[in-house]
Structures are given as structure tokens and as C-alpha cells.
């Protein structure tokens, strides 16, 4: 009963938030709606008994990803309205729905034919976090390490890409210096 109420409530809220994210013309509204949708999605994980996944969802998505987007948006001009592609809306919605149904069918086909077996069945009387730890650090140890290396590579790439000319501060420079710097960057772009 309560599970059904919670499911429908959060399903409605998540769909509404993500709908705002893809339709609004203000980038800031899209960002805050996306953050709210991420939090509502973690509610599904808690309903499904995946407590650790729900906590990770909140920490990583709303804590790290959204903060990174918020800081990234400070670089861009987000106050003006976003222009949209002009195309047939029915074609877009129809294609998107078809593609989504295709993906779900690909997922569900092995389930329907009952080909699925539980490789790592859940243990009775053990919390979700403990179970996740046991499986992650035994069966999925190498993917875990590879994911760690991948995150390190991504961190280095992010620093190298975004950190160029971070030592320059446009607010502390005179106008002539800024004009000179812009000329230099234009030359770089052309060459």
C-alpha cells in the first residue's frame, strides 16, 4: 500500500522534473530540476532495498555531479535563453519512444524467457551495504580497480583541460592586457 503510494508519487515527481529539464529554455531551471530529479530517483533505490546505491546516488549525483555542473556553468553565459532545434516534434517524440521501448525489450527479453539465474543471490539477515561490499570486493574486484583508474584518468583530464590559464585573472588585468590576450587566442585558433 505505502510502497504503491511512494512509487506513484516519486514516479510522477521524477517524470515531471526530467520533463522540465529537457523542455525549459533556461539553463539554471534545467540544472535545478535535474538535481531534484536525481534525489527523487534515489527514493526508488531505497524502495527497492538498495540502500547503498541510494546513498551513492545522492552523494555522487547531487553532491559531485551537480556541484561540478554548477561550477562549470559559471564559465558559460547561462542567463540568455537557449535556442532549440526547429524540427518536427512528433518525429522526435516518436523516434525517442521507439528507441526507448527497443532498449527495454532488449533488457527484458532474457527475463521473459526465464533464462536468468541469480549469480550472487542476496543473503538473508545481512544488510545491503554488507552484501554489496562482499560482492564488490570479491567477484567484481578487477572492474572496481579499473573503474578507480578510469576515475583517476578522468580527474587528470579534467584538470588539464579546464586548468589552462587558470593563473590569469581577467578581473585583475587592465583592458589593454585583456585585448592582447584575446588577440593571442585568436591567432592560436586560426593556426
Amino acid at each position: 500500500m505505502f510502497e504503491a503510494i511512494a512509487f506513484y508519487l516519486f514516479a510522477f515527481l521524477t517524470i515531471a522534473m526530467f520533463f522540465i529539464t529537457v523542455t525549459t529554455s533556461q539553463a539554471l531551471y534545467a540544472l535545478s530540476a535535474l538535481a531534484a530529479g536525481m534525489i527523487f530517483i534515489s527514493a526508488f533505490f531505497f524502495i527497492l532495498g538498495a540502500d547503498f546505491l541510494g546513498a551513492v546516488q545522492i552523494i555522487v549525483y547531487t553532491g559531485a555531479v551537480m556541484a561540478l555542473y554548477a561550477f562549470g556553468m559559471m564559465f558559460f553565459d547561462t542567463t540568455r535563453e537557449v535556442k532549440e532545434k526547429k524540427g518536427n516534434k512528433f518525429i522526435i517524440v516518436g523516434l525517442a519512444t521507439l528507441a526507448a521501448i527497443m532498449v527495454v525489450v532488449i533488457f527484458v527479453a532474457p527475463l521473459v524467457s526465464d533464462n536468468i539465474n541469480a549469480f550472487y543471490p542476496m543473503v538473508e539477515g545481512v544488510g545491503n551495504t554488507q552484501e554489496v561490499g562482499m560482492v564488490l570486493f570479491t567477484k567484481y574486484l578487477i572492474p572496481f580497480e579499473v573503474a578507480a583508474v578510469m576515475l583517476l584518468v578522468a580527474m587528470v583530464a579534467g584538470i588539464v583541460l579546464a586548468g589552462k590559464k587558470m593563473d590569469l585573472s581577467i578581473t585583475l588585468m587592465t583592458d589593454a592586457e585583456i585585448i592582447d590576450m584575446k588577440k593571442d587566442t585568436k591567432k592560436e585558433t586560426l593556426s
Binding site: A30, L48, A50, V56, Y61, Y69, A100, Y140, A154, M155
Partner: protein, 102 residues
């Protein structure tokens, strides 16, 4: 109706995935395209967690963790590239990135 089963979650996941795809197809601004990809990844995560719960198997949750890790690293690299592009060209519209003529 009152009993929430696997199908409910899969239908919800389909709807969210469709919303994300609509976003990818109609957005021009690259930052908002990134938002749409996050929606796609989250929709898949819901499906993984639901299948994991209803089949009593932890593999789905493990994959959801790796999806989250990939989403985080994709975002770090993508946002860095976006900042470099914005510094050079002053815009992050997708139409300005067409360098090939044909």
C-alpha cells in the same frame, strides 16, 4: 494496481529513457545535451536496481555502481572539453561545431 511489480519499474524506466532521448534530439546547447545524457544513465540505473531486487541478485546493483562511476568520469572530461571550447569560441552551440563543408 496496488502491487508494484517489475513491470512498473520497467515502464517508468522506459518513460524516463524516452524523455532523455527527446532531450538529446531537440537540444542545441551542449551543456543541456549533457543533462539529457545524465537522464538516460539514471533511467537505466532504475531498471538495473529493479531487476536486481525482483530476481534477488546483486549483479544489477553492481552494474549500477559502474554506470555511476562512468557517468562521473564522462562528466569531468566532457565539462573540461566544453570549457576549452567556450574559451576559444565563446559559444557552446552544437551548430558552431560543424567544421566540415559538404
Amino acid at each position: 494496481m496496488m502491487e508494484i511489480g517489475l513491470n512498473h519499474y520497467l515502464i517508468l524506466s522506459t518513460i524516463l529513457f524516452a524523455i532523455g532521448l527527446v532531450g538529446i534530439m531537440r537540444r542545441k546547447n551542449l551543456l543541456l545535451l549533457f543533462f539529457a545524457t545524465e537522464i538516460l544513465l539514471n533511467a537505466v540505473n532504475i531498471a538495473f536496481a529493479a531487476i536486481s531486487h525482483y530476481y534477488g541478485d546483486l549483479t544489477g546493483q553492481m552494474f549500477a555502481f559502474f554506470v555511476i562511476a562512468i557517468a562521473a568520469s564522462e562528466l569531468a572530461v566532457g565539462l573540461g572539453l566544453l570549457i576549452v571550447w567556450y574559451k576559444r569560441h565563446g559559444t557552446i552551440d552544437l551548430d558552431t561545431m560543424t567544421s566540415m563543408r559538404g
